[in-house]
């Protein structure tokens, strides 16, 4: 078995994924931890999605922002990152800042204090709402890795993106399971959405096709105690 770039490495303990030669730790909450950089990476928080629906009079429970921030806080306690990167679509829309409650705004500020915080621009949120701290950029290079919101079509070695909300569906003779997942061919990766109201898109959807033209990707599915790496062929469409 050769270790050339692109051949996928097995992950014996189900705790990480290697992208373009960089090993990233997977937190089962659906985040990457770049240990060497003490960097925490999350994608698609979609803060204030509930209130965005409420503005159209679908009165979804207004607790999604608090829920997402609480999970993020737990991640920060676990990994004490030096820098947090949110891979875009962190806020559900441009008016999220008008709807976010003071308590949630304060909770976010508290998470940001004492560490670097980078908002990568997403299609829902070219910039964070006014009064929210942190830096903004379109993409971020970390060694051989490039962190951006929307994956580029065609080959993009080292890219780590969000936007697509990947989820995998697995069948067995005894039943089926659908879970959020990381999807990667070893050279690039799409991360699962982190937000409480962010749904999942099946990795067999055509939206993923332009990203993995050379090699079939693997779904790194979030289990209860470990990550399960499952071949693309073993994942079913929706």
């Amino acid at each position: 078995m050769s270790m050339a770039v692109g051949v996928q490495e097995r992950d014996p303990d189900g705790s990480g994924v290697t992208i373009a030669g960089v090993r990233l730790h997977v937190d089962l909450a659906g985040a990457f931890v770049h240990l060497a950089e003490r960097m925490l990476i999350v994608a698609d928080l979609h803060l204030e999605k509930g209130s965005a629906f409420a503005a159209r009079r679908q009165l979804l429970p207004p607790y999604d922002t608090a829920a997402t921030l609480a999970r993020l806080a737990a991640l920060i306690v676990r990994h004490t990152p030096r820098v947090v990167v949110a891979l875009g679509d962190s806020f559900h829309d441009m008016r999220a800042g008008e709807r976010i409650t003071d308590a949630d705004r304060e909770a976010l500020t508290a998470l940001q204090s004492g560490r670097e915080w980078i908002w990568i621009a997403g299609n829902h949120d070219p910039a964070p709402p006014a009064g929210i701290g942190g830096e903004t950029c379109d993409s971020l290079a970390v060694g051989p890795l490039t962190l951006r919101h929307e994956p580029l079509p065609g080959a993009a070695p080292g890219e780590i993106a969000g936007h697509l909300h990947p989820a995998a569906r697995v069948f067995s003779p005894s039943g089926s399971v659908r879970r959020r997942c990381f999807v990667s061919d070893g050279s690039r990766c799409v991360m699962p959405a982190f937000g409480a109201y962010a749904g999942g898109l099946n990795i067999r959807d055509v939206a993923f096709a332009p990203l993995f033209t050379q090699r079939r990707p693997t779904a790194h599915v979030l289990g209860m105690r470990r990550v399960y790496s499952i071949g693309h062929h073993a994942c079913a469409p929706d």
Partner: protein, 873 residues
Amino acid sequence: MKETRTIPRKTTPKKAGPAASLPTRFADWFASRGWQPRQHQLELLEKARGGESALLIAPTGAGKTLAGFLPSLVDLQTPRNRSGLHTLYISPLKALAVDVARNLETPVADMNLPVRIETRTGDTSASKRMRQRRNPPDILLTTPEQLALLLATADAEYLFSTLRRVVLDELHSIVTSKRGDLLALGLARLRQIAPAMTSVGLSATVRDPDELRRYLVAQTPGSAALSALVTTPAGAAADIQMLDTRERLPWSGHGGAHAMAEIYGAIKAARMSLVFVNTRAQAEAVFQQLWTINEDNLSIALHHGSLDAGQRRRVEEAMVQGRLKAVVCTSTLDLGIDWGDVDLVINVGAPKGASRIAQRIGRANHRLDEPSRALLVPSNRFEVLECRAAIDAAKAGEQDTPPRRTGSLDVLCQHILGVACAAPFDADALYGEVISAEPYSDLPRKDFDDAVDFVATGGYALKSYDRFAKIKQAKDGLWRVANQKVAQSYRMNVGTIVESDMLKVRLVRGRKQAAPEQVRQPSPVYGNLWYPAKLQGGASKTTYTGPLTRGGRVLGQIEEYFLETLSPGDTFLFGGEILSLQGIVENEALVARANSDAPKVPSYAGGKFPLSTWLAQRVRKLLSNPQAWSGLPGQVAEWLELQQHFSMLPPAGDLLLETFPRGNRFFLVAYPFEGRLAHQTLGMLLTRRMERLGLKPMGFVANDYAIAVWSLGDVGGRLASGKLSADDLFGEDMLGDDLEEWLQESALMKRTFRNCAVVAGLIERRYPGKEKSGRQVTISTDLVYDVLRRHQPDHILLRGARDDALTGLLDLSRLADMLTRVKGRIIHKPLHRISPLAVPIMLEIGREPVYGEAQEHVLAEAAEDLVREAMGE
């Protein structure tokens, strides 16, 4: 004219001069047809004259519908001061409303009555609906959903103020569901608008008529008001036989394949048969198998809820015209119209309930004085016991219709918004009105206030949505709808039936193939899925009808999740055809006709009723009493004797547990006979408990009669040694913490919540401009459920979902009753190997979905696959 169920076919001689109470015009009409009015028809007329509401309980064929309308027609023969809506008729089926309207035209035309009759269903044109609101007919026939829509318009007050009478058909069927709650609230509204109105309910025989009598009249706190009751003498007892097959009886399965030749023989010998099955998938399979052996080219058709409505109408019409020999159908034909001259009802599979089977049997021979003929075909050994029990129950005239339901909170929420859409409302007055509806008569004021709060701003403890409120309380204290968009969206989402996401099945092209002399199958040509070409007078065609471009015919609808399990090119049975999936485009599944030996059968979700409590009781008794086995087929009696020899028979009041090793697993099999749903819940809770006891359970399977759990730990050994007591293992306390913990993750609970969220209007499935967004549900209710459960566990919708789960998918109330019943009465039988009684449930292993920890195993196995591939194994 054709005979219909509204018309008695034979006169029933009655004493007492009926003509005396009947206006001359009507008495003459009856006489001109050679009929006499029936006693119950006159009684209902009398009640109506006295301003009384009434419940009429009568079997099919008793002239029930005419009885219901007679008082209205009598009233309407004299001109009124102001024209307007006089009588409202509500039916659970729109086809029934249309049919009744047609039948009503006969007496109206014969007697030249000045009465205008119209129907209003989802199919009625927008312009006609608009006109009906402004210029209503005298009699309007419609459905519960249409009534809700009418009540939510600003015209409601004007439209219904003239109303004198409401006729509720098939009331026993409506009241068992959320539709019944919605209708009850609508009825309460009508009583406010038209205080002089009386209601009449038409029902088949039920267990407790008083429940329906309360439903028909306004309830007042502290005392139960009852409507009058009119009944008819019972008709001739039905002639019910169980098929004593010459074939070997299968151990499991529900298809009845072994008996197909015998079923075919029975169809051949009868004039016209209805072949009832329990699920749509079974209907497809039975239909296909009958056609495979249809040497005589009998005209056998198919009818189930997934088929295109036009197709169903054609089958119904052909039945009425007597052009069919048999129809394979599901519960879609349980209710309703007299579909032609059916003289035999065949029920394939388990009857499930005494009332259900009685209703089905009543579909044959709508003549009161002649017995209905029915043939029960059990498809496995346990079903033999169930059929026997059902026949005994029918002889004893037992009924097991479900007990009264408590009005659902989600339906209440929907209704409150509807009320606001019609006109501003006062909360106190509306509360008084709501608790006058029978299902809501015990509704606490707090629940009502919570429902209003939910409709207004979502009912959240965190008050952040005030500016997005759907209804607002103005200074005058009245609640008003925020804007017309809210009203529009209400109208698009009214109703209580939440279907799974369905895809249209569209035929895009036939697959060109040399037509071999293939298996005989119904060859669908042009508009007739159910009718072979040669019977239409054309030449036999076994090939497709030629290439169809996209935009071909819609064959019906199918659950999205079933199609998700197929890949393009996979074949399945639908509408009696073998189809091959070409692809899914938006909300349509594009299919082509195909030839295949082994099509997958659609695993339709619909139609899996659990075994009723009453019937279960009879089955347990039958099983425990060898004297009663003489009435059973020889093979079955022999099977039970073997069970007696190798293990034991569960005494009627006790719970039998068998344990035995098999392979490298230990099995525990229990026989509670409480129905599939309660057993499934039991399985979840039991495996949780065994997990905690270190018994390492690996999975379980449940059917209507039994449950089997397998584990790595020796559960039988622990029970036998006394280290574990059976009473502890099946302790009622599993409904405490174990249940709470499990509910948090339960997929069934999430599905229940989804239904509540849609009915209550939290999630809008349709909104202006996005009518066909079936596939793109705006947000996953599973995610909403998770968030809400953590942050506001006492939210009204979570309470509503829990209430639903008690009787619905989880059947918790029944499980709780069972655990109480068997306390101290559990018999453990340690065995060395599987018992005869355990064979059927053991054969079902591997067919059921997995839950909880087992999901991790599925993932781990799939991951192992990758490892093997990577390692080149």
